[in-house]
């Protein structure tokens, strides 16, 4: 994902001389191609995210499009007030790019797990939020935000994520990864691959399960999501994020006022609370958090049993 991002950004920057990239001393082995090609538009600002975010606003208010890049919580929570006041309140054309969504930095521990970021970013006024599930969506989202003129958040995983579907026609729309009508799993981010595995397992048992990637969390295309789940007897949301503020909250909130609405089962990462985090690969941590394919299948079966 990181490589696809920087390739897409470099392409956009070669077409638009007003695109700048700032990083908070992270991006080794990722950002170098951009830095080499556009040395006048790349700054490693050092380990100083508040300065980076405020500076990005200042550059953007001078007519530029500014990407800022770092790991998970650093370009988001560390400088949250700069994003709220300096970027969003001014409508500054700043794109926050965080790498390491969810448990992508597995064994690095709690500080490097981005579990609340998408929800918190979504609460900021006027920002658009993208959580792509595969390199095709990263490419489409990067191209879109590079020319949207709006504050944006792009949540990336790390590397090696497989393509989960064919070409993306409109990154703002839900993207069908697997056809199926009775149960529809809405997934955001690379966890969508587990949704596909769960859907396959359920289909072996005779269930009719579709999987839809919701990459654009904000603005959420509520009408298109209603279309995607029309006729389903169960909607499941799956995200590598806490339930509060993420995909589940947004979908449930969108449906809340509908007279006819399907039940929505939210599957996400439990809040950590005071518990310490264990070492482990992303896969192991997801399993431990109740997001193994087997656990997802079991949750869906339980919800179906309640119908």
């Amino acid at each position: 994902m990181r490589t696809t991002f920087i390739e897409s950004l470099s392409q956009a920057a070669s077409e638009n001389p007003d695109i700048w990239l700032l990083c908070g001393d992270l991006g080794y082995s990722v950002l170098e191609p951009f830095a080499a090609k556009f040395p006048d538009r790349f700054i490693n600002v050092g380990v100083a995210e508040q300065n980076m975010a405020g500076m990005a606003a200042g550059i953007a208010l001078s007519g530029k499009t500014v990407f800022i890049y770092s790991i998970g919580n650093f370009p988001t929570l560390r400088c949250l007030e700069q994003l709220r006041n300096d970027v969003c309140y001014h409508g500054a054309d700043v794109k926050v790019v965080a790498v390491g969504a969810g448990y992508a930095y597995g064994s690095q521990g709690y500080t490097h797990h981005a579990l609340e970021d998408a929800g918190i970013m979504s609460m900021l006024p006027g920002i658009e939020v993208f959580v792509p599930c595969d390199p095709n969506e990263v490419r489409a989202a990067t191209r879109l935000i590079a020319s949207s003129g709006k504050p944006s958040y792009l949540r990336l995983s790390r590397q090696g994520e497989p393509a989960l579907g064919s070409v993306v026609t409109d990154i703002r729309k839900p993207r069908i990864l697997r056809e199926g009508r009775d149960v529809v799993i809405l997934a955001s981010g690379p966890i969508a691959s587990r949704a596909l595995e769960a859907a396959n397992a359920l289909s072996v048992r005779g269930r009719d399960v579709g999987v839809v990637s919701v990459s654009c969390l904000k603005p959420l295309d509520e009408a298109a999501i209603r279309d995607a789940v029309r006729g389903a007897s169960l909607v499941v949301t799956l995200e590598e994020h806490i339930l509060r503020g993420g995909l589940f909250s947004m979908v449930a909130g969108a449906f809340a006022g509908d007279a006819q609405r399907p039940p929505v089962t939210g599957i996400g990462i439990p809040e950590q609370g005071g518990k310490t985090s264990s070492a482990g690969s992303r896969e192991a941590l997801l399993d431990a958090a109740g997001l193994s394919v087997e656990a997802i299948v079991a949750r869906i079966e339980q919800s179906l049993a309640k119908r």
């Binding site: 508040q50 606003a57 200042g58 953007a60 300096d86």
Partner: protein, 276 residues
């Protein structure tokens, strides 16, 4: 744009400073607003900037090659709005709406107001924004400069020190920080709350060109601010030693005037003292 293009009929410097002090006093009185002490301490700085230094055109406040002024101590709005109105960015009559329902003149500075570059109010935000503007201005090559006014108390904020470290490393000589060093912050004296001394030495150690002056000496202000960029490859900081509440005897060096609004009687006395 090589010289200030403020209205030709703008008043001369000392008269300008007198007028904006009087406006600010009337505004905080009418609105029962706070922060008059920090408004009066920076009045002479604004007067010099807006009549002698900044290359601005009130008829084209978004002109791409303009100098930028970022007010980081965003609570000192009465004097800021008064300055902009006196310069012709918007009608003076608008000052009567300060902090009123529906007015654009909010208690912390708002970019909805013509001539205001950015909204601030949470301290420690202005300098990073100004640094971004200085980088963009240098890249554009039009020679525009960025001035950023900090309070002394706000120098407690870590975000400022991130910026203070960054600007000399990137040789931002088109950037000038002015610190309104009035020695009193929100809940006590700077020396007692969190001492900044040795202040000039800190900036020097970070690589800044440091000017330390009396912030009410308009000739000194004109000399150091007008010289920006003062040293090739170095940003400038002007540590302006000021008096909180300057010009009104009963407000000078009094913490309470960070909060209080003058009564009718005290307003009359204050206006008399500033010569309104």
């Amino acid at each position: 744009m090589t010289r200030p293009t403020l209205p030709a009929n703008r008043p001369e410097l000392k008269e300008f400073a007198r007028r904006i002090r009087a406006h600010a006093l009337r505004m905080v009185h009418a609105a029962k607003a706070a922060h008059i002490g920090g408004c009066l301490s920076m009045a002479d700085i604004l007067a010099v900037l807006y009549t002698q230094v900044l290359r601005l055109d009130p008829a084209e406040p978004q002109g791409p090659d303009r100098d930028r002024f970022v007010l980081s101590k965003g609570h000192a709005t009465a004097i800021m709005y008064a300055t902009l109105a006196e310069c012709g960015f918007f009608p003076l009559a608008e000052l009567d709406t300060y902090c009123r329902d529906g007015s654009i003149l909010t208690g912390h500075v708002s970019h909805a107001v013509p001539g205001v570059e950015v909204s601030t109010g949470s301290l420690g935000h202005g300098l990073p924004i100004a640094i971004g503007m200085a980088l963009a201005a240098r890249s554009a090559g039009a020679g525009s400069r960025v001035f950023c006014l900090l309070s002394d108390g706000e120098c407690d904020e870590g975000s400022n020190w991130e910026g203070i470290l960054f600007a000399p490393h990137h040789k931002l000589d088109n950037l000038c920080v002015i610190v309104d060093f009035n020695k009193i912050q929100s809940f006590g004296s700077v020396a007692e709350v969190l001492n900044l001394d040795p202040f000039a030495e800190k900036w020097k150690a970070f690589g800044w060109h440091v000017e330390e002056i009396d912030g009410h000496d308009v000739a000194a202000l004109e000399r150091v601010l007008g010289a920006v960029p003062s040293q090739s490859g170095r940003p400038t900081v002007v540590i302006a030693h000021t008096v909180k509440g300057k010009g009104v005897s009963f407000m000078e060096n009094k913490l309470e005037w960070h909060y209080r609004s003058p009564s009718d009687e005290l307003l009359a006395q204050a206006l008399a003292e500033v010569g309104a």
